[in-house]
């Protein structure tokens, strides 16, 4: 089955007065329908910008400078060919018809992404009526049905609630129902559970999995929480300094990851086999200067496994396949294999 979304060598740079920040610097991945791709990285790694560039909502002064974002046409629609979202203007009618219709997004804090002066119902109905030709009454029925599907109790009445009248978990459910009401093929979820409590987070993850089974959309799940990523993803992308360090199926990544960065990241979370009150493994140093352009491995200098090998510093960045759906961008690994 061909992937519904293919991102090829995406580069998003921010042109500031002080210099150029290469927020995303050559990222390649693809997602299939019904599958979830997890994107994990620390703050400042560029993971959110990847999500934003697919919807073409990268904030100024950021620009997509290179790469392709290929959206496969809908099944049965033979007339249209594969669409490159990079070639579509961000303010064009075409792009507006894609946002919400084909690609939808849910955000971290639903309080900031809903309009506080409109009811959640009117916002869901607006999304629906923009993209499909339905009457007001029918749109309302669909919205009620959708709110029920995401587990909001008493949807007939809650549809007229304002965002502030709902709890955090309920707001996130309303957000999900708004994103899914047009039955998009791709759902981008940018840290959707970060602001929620553990018990509510478990509810939302469960809900997303069930909805994916029902609607079959592809999910791009962006998070900094390794546990959440392990829970929901089929494949995982580990991002660091705007680059993919490792890509692997979820089981492979958490059991036998290759990249020293992935390993260091996993080690720094206290787990069941970490002795209590022992020293946790840390990653020394900080992210490289954002304005710097690094040809080799961006993790060079913080990596404890390469021992300062000049190969790591000088070898150009390259993602190499080391196993089934398993890619690593570590010069030493690639040379060894």
């Amino acid at each position: 089955m061909p992937p519904v979304l293919e991102v090829k060598d995406l580069r998003v740079h921010f042109f500031l007065d002080e210099g150029v920040v290469r927020a995303v610097d050559g990222v390649t991945f693809s997602v299939e329908s019904g599958k979830t791709l997890g994107i994990v990285g620390e703050s400042g790694s560029g993971k959110s910008v990847i999500g934003q560039s697919i919807l073409r909502i990268v904030p100024s002064p950021g620009r997509i400078v290179d790469g392709k974002i290929l959206l496969r046409p809908e099944d049965g629609n033979v007339s249209s060919s594969v669409l490159d979202l990079v070639s579509v203007g961000p303010y064009s009618r075409r792009m507006r018809s894609i946002r919400g219709r084909d690609v939808a997004m849910i955000f971290q804090e639903p309080m900031n992404s809903f309009s506080p002066v409109h009811t959640i119902g009117s916002q869901i109905i607006e999304a629906l009526r923009l993209h499909s030709d339905v009457s007001k009454a029918e749109a309302r029925n669909r919205a009620v049905e959708m709110l029920g599907k995401v587990g909001i109790p008493d949807p007939e009445n809650r549809i007229d609630a304002y965002p502030h009248q709902l709890s955090g978990g309920m707001r996130q459910r309303a957000m999900i129902s708004m994103a899914l009401v047009c039955n998009p093929r791709i759902l981008i979820a940018d840290e959707p559970t970060t602001a929620l409590d553990v018990t509510i987070q478990a509810q939302i993850l469960e809900l997303l999995k069930n909805l994916q089974e029902e609607f079959g959309m592809a999910i791009l799940f962006i998070s900094h929480n390794l546990g959440v990523i392990a829970e929901i993803s089929d494949d995982v992308l580990v991002v660091y300094f705007g680059r993919v360090m490792e890509q692997a199926p979820v089981d492979t990544l958490f059991e036998e990851c290759f990249h020293p960065y992935t390993r260091a990241l996993l080690m720094s979370v206290p787990g069941i086999d970490t002795p209590v009150r022992s020293h946790l493994a840390t990653i020394d140093g900080t992210l490289p200067d954002a304005f710097e352009s690094i040809a080799g491995c961006p993790f060079f200098g913080r990596c404890t496994e390469c021992g300062g090998d000049s190969i790591c510093r000088d070898n150009p960045y390259e993602l190499t396949e080391v196993g089934d759906r398993h890619f690593v961008a570590c010069p030493r690994m690639c040379i060894r294999i």
Binding site: V198, L205, H224, A230, F254, V269, R277, L280, T282
Partner: protein, 353 residues
């Protein structure tokens, strides 16, 4: 590893801090005349104790009152009821922080210090690091001149920063470094108890690990006690000797860390542990998905406030408040059925906390 830190019992009178039946109700006012229409019972009868040099973890979901407890200990809020017994290290008799006048509180403040969640908001952007660290020492007339400079240098090195950092302003530091500065400031007056309210929640995991290591190191060197407030069970488990688990203003379980994770006696503890996402996909654990949201502290459900979400709730739970009872040595639980329920611990649940 820490033999001198033996687990202490609730009624131990040598405790550094002992909180008994602490309550904080915030009035809800409405209308033109600010009529009080109800109370938010943020903290509703919490008791625990902290021994010298011990770490107590206070864990719960947002809105359960854990931060309010920390603020009452700091003296930022006056408790509605209950007492906070603190034993000053100078050998004098213990005092109730909940009842004393602010003027009497002042000489005690150096002993209890706080580290906040957001290192971007808790440091004054107009002061250099030197000024930030000097302020508590100057205000309390602890040191001046050469002595002051020596102490500042000692502090900055204690938290793993360099002397040349002292002339910089907070904006020049990363989140992890700022949190180190907050810790240095809190340590300036030789405290005996550090209240750390979500000290690593704003940080990345690799930086979080650095701060946790630093906190453990400092505890070992200085022998101070921590009240570690967090919502992260994995971190609490790693850090604390004993744990207080709160739900809507009340303590549901209070036990040594090992017992809480391996033999939980409250259904909420069990569910919470099963909900923590695991980084070990092969450990396919049983997920206990709770219905609904945490209760509203303004009108908490009658009886056990957890009963509307509890899998094991029975008739009695909806109208009788379960008391906090000792079910095992040092293990206190507030559940009517803590004896009869067979709850699964962390290992059996397959959660990789």
């Amino acid at each position: 590893m820490y033999p001198h830190l033996r687990v202490r019992r609730l009624s131990d009178s040598e405790n550094l801090l002992e909180v008994t039946d602490l309550k904080k109700y915030f009035p809800v006012q409405k209308g033109l005349f600010r009529k009080v229409v109800g109370y938010i019972k943020a903290v509703d009868g919490v008791s625990f104790s902290i021994g010298a040099g011990e770490t107590l973890g206070l864990v719960g979901e947002s809105g359960c009152g854990k931060t309010t407890v920390g603020r009452m200990i700091m003296g930022a809020y006056r408790p509605t009821q209950g007492s906070i017994w603190f034993k000053p290290p100078n050998g004098s008799a213990r005092v109730d922080l909940a009842a004393i006048e602010p003027s009497e509180m002042k000489p005690l403040r150096p002993y209890i210090q706080m580290v906040f969640q957001d290192p971007f908001a808790s440091l004054n952007p107009r002061m250099t690091i030197r000024e930030i660290l000097a302020e508590p020492l100057v205000v309390n007339k602890v040191a001046k001149g050469h002595e002051l400079e020596d102490r500042i240098r000692q502090l900055i090195e204690l938290v793993g920063l360099q002397v040349y950092h002292l002339n910089r302003y907070p904006h020049a530091f990363s989140g992890g470094q700022r949190q180190r500065i907050s810790i240095a400031r809190a340590l300036a007056l030789y405290p005996k108890l550090l209240v750390a309210d979500e000290p690593t929640s704003a940080l990345d995991v690799s930086v979080q690990a650095q701060i946790v290591n630093l906190a453990l190191e400092i505890q070992e060197r200085l022998g101070l006690a921590y009240l570690f407030i967090s919502h992260d069970l994995g971190l609490i488990r790693h850090f604390s000797q004993r744990i207080v688990l709160m739900y809507v203003g009340k303590v549901v379980e209070y036990a040594p860390s090992q017992n809480l994770f391996n033999q939980p006696r409250h259904p909420y503890t069990e569910a919470l542990m099963s909900n923590v996402p695991s980084t070990r996909p092969e450990m396919v654990g049983r997920k206990i998905i709770l219905k609904g949201d945490p209760a509203d502290p303004m009108n908490a459900p009658s009886g056990c406030s957890f009963h509307p979400r509890c899998l094991y709730a029975q008739e009695v739970c909806s109208h009788v408040v379960p008391p906090l009872m000792e079910v095992d040595s040092g293990h206190l639980v507030a559940c009517h059925f803590s004896d009869s329920l067979l709850l699964t611990g962390c290992d059996a649940l397959g959660c990789a906390l």
